[in-house]
């Protein structure tokens, strides 16, 4: 057993959703050994109700569960633009199930019993992806909240124009441009123009 992963590298919450108590408990025990704290749920509804699904994180989903199938949980998460990364861990998976899962954006797909190390690797990757996705979602939300005038000014800013040129292009006062510009910086949570451009890139990606 290699030592590299015996760290608390994962900075996002990890959830385990499985109807089988022994599987939940044993997974938690094992991942605890890798210093990964997990929150376990016995079913899809409980997970959707309690977990912070709009925050970055990683969820290990069983596919066959009595109340809500793993695939259904995945569909709901996608629908509400959750940044959570999904890893499937199923007792009886097949190729078509795996293909469907990956197409719907799952990070990984495992069959029980799973090797702990591979699972931890997948969790690490999933956590990173979730963080990126979370940032993207954040930028997108900011971008979508822009007014028409702010949007126009943003486009001109990205082209590298100065405030005076923008004011001339849009036939408005330089002061007005400055007000909108500071509002833009606030909305994107950016301190410099470079940060603003980065956020814009994330948003339109």
């Amino acid at each position: 057993m290699s030592q590299e992963f015996v760290t608390g590298l994962v900075s996002v919450p990890v959830y385990v959703v499985d109807d089988d108590e022994s599987v939940r408990d044993s997974l938690a025990f094992m991942l605890d050994g890798y210093d990964i704290n997990v929150t376990t749920y016995a079913g899809g509804p409980a997970f959707l109700d309690d977990a912070e699904i709009m925050q970055p994180g990683c969820v290990i989903l069983d596919s066959r569960m009595p109340e809500l199938r793993g695939q259904d949980v995945q569909a709901i998460l996608t629908q509400c633009h959750s940044p959570l990364s999904i890893i499937f861990l199923t007792g009886h998976g097949d190729v078509s199930m795996a293909v469907d899962a990956f197409k719907s954006g799952a990070v990984d797909f495992f069959q029980k019993p799973v090797d702990g190390e591979k699972l931890v690797q997948a969790i690490t990757i999933a956590a990173e992806k979730s963080l990126v996705r979370s940032e993207q979602l954040c930028a997108l939300l900011s971008y979508q909240s822009l007014t028409e005038r702010e949007h126009d000014i943003l486009l001109l800013l990205v082209q590298g124009k100065r405030n005076q040129q923008i004011a001339d292009d849009l036939c408005i006062a330089v002061r007005t441009v400055e007000v909108h510009r500071s509002s833009l910086m606030k909305k994107f949570n950016a301190k410099t123009i470079a940060e603003l451009v980065l956020q814009y890139g994330l948003a339109i990606n």
Binding site: S26, F29, V114
Partner: protein, 606 residues
């Protein structure tokens, strides 16, 4: 076709008749020469008489009459020939007699077949003198019989089946009473002439009743041959002026006739002499008569023969049919065509029947095939479902165990205290128990099928099983041979289970034969041998298929298979079933190719 046959029969008949006629002509010649050329020479006349009561009596009765004739006709000699019924007929047929004296029954029979001319009828002192022939049904006086019907089916003696007074008249009387003559004379004995013997047989108790010509009893009584009161006659219908007891109606008396062998002139002389015989002459008395009268009608005799369906002029049925066909050709054709039509229809039906039978067989075979496919599919489905749910059930605890053990190892590697791992190990134990529980449940589920053992002849079971596979083997061109040694003993077995074993083994053998390379030109064969010894039955099933390709260790495992769509369960099931019977199941390669399955089953203790 029918017409041709009839024509040929008629032609054959004509030929025979012509020959008979030719014989007659040859026979006649010497006689006529004698008559014409030797007027002075004595003319010999052969007289045939029916000797009903024996030769001696016949001579006594008729010799005086012949002497009378001889005395009346100059230059003549009358020779007496006593005959039985059959001899008389032969004599007339061969023209060896010139004159016949016989009873009315034979008179009519002969008269309708040969050219006889009636000269006179004997006159009797009884009744009206001319109708004096009939039958009496005689029983012993002390018997319980009262009427004709009482005798029906009992032992009856009669003269002959063609005797007139001695049988035929009685037969008609019985028939006229509404009794079936065949049933009445079911136990009849024909004793022939002399008739006296019949009475003696009745007297001595050999028979229960006797049919004799009328007056037979009275004559014997008169002659002192029997005693008064020993016999009686049933249903006596004799008229007032008739001295003899009688059970039937009366028929004409005996007659005399000439054949075509003597001339009409001589016949005239004989007739004249007979009619001239005085009633009180010794010759009359000897013949129990009062002389002779001109011949009387024999219609009643003709009617009797007709009623008994045996008239001599009556043509046989096939001849009648031929005549009818000739007369009604159009109807004959209709009937012929109808028969032809029916035959064609019959053939058509037969053809259609056999065709539908073939179809039915083919359908049945298809059904069997489908059934086999369905069974196979069902087996696969059941095993698939079982396997899938089993895999899932077992997988959960396995996954948990893996997780716990990995977590535990990780902690140990990180130098954690042993107490940190203890809960994991405990949980692993729990999971192992859970998995074990699943296995146990499965085992009880499998063993739940109640094994009903019953007495069974393995040979019958083999036959039944082979019947199930018959069509399949036929399709695959596989020959099956069977042999059985020793005394066949019934075994107490799980019939369903053992049949499953046989089916598995035989199907496997067939598959092995099919999997063999087709380039090798040997016929696929499966031979089954049953050997019964004192304590066991050894069933050997040998095929000449591809043989064994797996190691014996692999063969021990369930789910091991070399077949494309096999489940690898057949052998395991066979082994289980046979071992449940305390038997032994083994596989070995056969010589030169193939595989031999041996099933040892213990026999019940005698």
């Amino acid at each position: 076709m029918g017409n041709v046959l009839i024509q040929s029969v008629i032609a054959a008949l004509l030929l025979v008749m012509t020959q008979v006629h030719a014989d007659n002509t040859i026979d006649k010649n010497p006689n006529s020469v004698e008559l014409v050329d030797t007027k002075q020479i004595i003319t010999t006349v052969d007289v045939g008489v029916l000797a009903t009561r024996g030769v001696f009596e016949a001579k006594q009765r008729w010799q005086p009459t012949l002497l009378w004739l001889q005395s009346q006709i100059p230059n003549s000699e009358f020779r007496l020939h006593p005959y039985t019924l059959a001899e008389m007929e032969t004599a007339v047929k061969q023209q060896s007699v010139d004159v016949v004296v016989t009873n009315p029954g034979q008179a009519v029979r002969l008269g309708r077949q040969y050219p006889l001319s009636w000269l006179a009828t004997l006159n009797s002192k009884l009744g009206d003198g001319t109708h004096v022939i009939g039958s009496a049904l005689v029983v012993r006086a002390d018997s319980h019989y009262q009427h004709l019907v009482d005798v029906s089916g009992d032992k009856i003696a009669a003269v002959a089946s063609n005797a007139f007074g001695g049988y035929l008249t009685m037969q008609l009387a019985v028939q006229n009473q509404g009794i079936n003559p065949t049933a009445f004379f079911a136990d009849v004995a024909f004793l022939g002439f002399p008739i006296d013997a019949i009475i003696y047989q009745l007297r001595d108790g050999y028979v229960d009743a006797a049919v004799v010509p009328v007056c037979q009893l009275e004559s014997m009584l008169e002659e002192g041959l029997i005693q008064q009161g020993v016999f009686r006659v049933l249903d006596d219908v004799s008229p007032d002026n008739f001295a003899c007891a009688l059970s039937t109606q009366l028929y004409p008396n005996w007659s005399i006739a000439k054949t075509s062998a003597i001339s009409a002139k001589l016949a005239k002389k004989i007739t004249r002499a007979l009619l001239a015989l005085p009633s009180d002459h010794a010759a009359s008395i000897a013949a129990y008569s009062t002389g002779w009268t001109p011949p009387i009608s024999q219609l009643s005799v003709d009617q009797l023969y007709r009623d008994l369906d045996m008239h001599p002029l009556q043509r046989p049925w096939w001849q009648e049919a031929a005549v009818w066909i000739k007369k009604n050709q159009q109807w004959a054709w209709v009937v012929f065509l109808f028969v032809l039509l029916i035959s064609v229809y019959h053939l058509m039906l037969e053809y259609r029947f056999s065709r539908s039978e073939r179809k039915l067989k083919a359908t049945l075979n298809r059904l069997k095939e489908k059934n086999a496919m369905l069974e196979h599919a069902q087996r696969v489905a059941i095993v698939g479902e079982l396997g899938s749910s089993l895999a899932h059930e077992i997988n959960q605890p396995l996954a948990a165990i893996l997780n716990y053990s990995q977590g535990g190892l990780l902690r140990i590697n990180k130098g954690a205290d042993a107490s940190a791992v203890v809960p994991a190990l405990e949980k692993i134990q729990q999971q192992v128990k859970r998995a074990d529980g699943i296995v146990q449940r499965l085992r009880t589920l499998i063993n739940k099928r109640a094994v009903a053992k019953s007495s069974c002849d393995m040979q019958v079971l083999l036959t039944d099983t082979l019947e199930l596979l018959e069509y399949d083997f036929q399709q695959k061109n596989i020959t099956v041979s069977r042999a059985c040694f020793g005394n066949v003993v019934a075994l107490d077995v799980d019939i369903v289970g053992l049949q499953q074993v046989l089916l598995n083994v035989l199907n496997n053998a067939a598959d092995a034969c099919l999997m063999r390379e087709t380039s090798v030109p040997i016929n696929a064969e499966i031979s089954i041998a049953s050997q019964y010894s004192d304590d066991r039955l050894i069933l050997t099933i040998t095929d000449n298929g591809i043989g064994l390709t797996a190691t014996s260790e692999e063969l021990q495992n369930a789910f091991f298979t070399t077949k494309k769509d096999g489940l690898g369960l057949g052998l395991a099931i066979c082994r289980d079933v046979v071992e449940a019977h305390h038997g032994h199941f083994s596989l070995a390669p056969a010589d030169p190719v193939g595989c031999r399955v041996s099933i040892h089953l213990p026999l019940p203790l005698q």
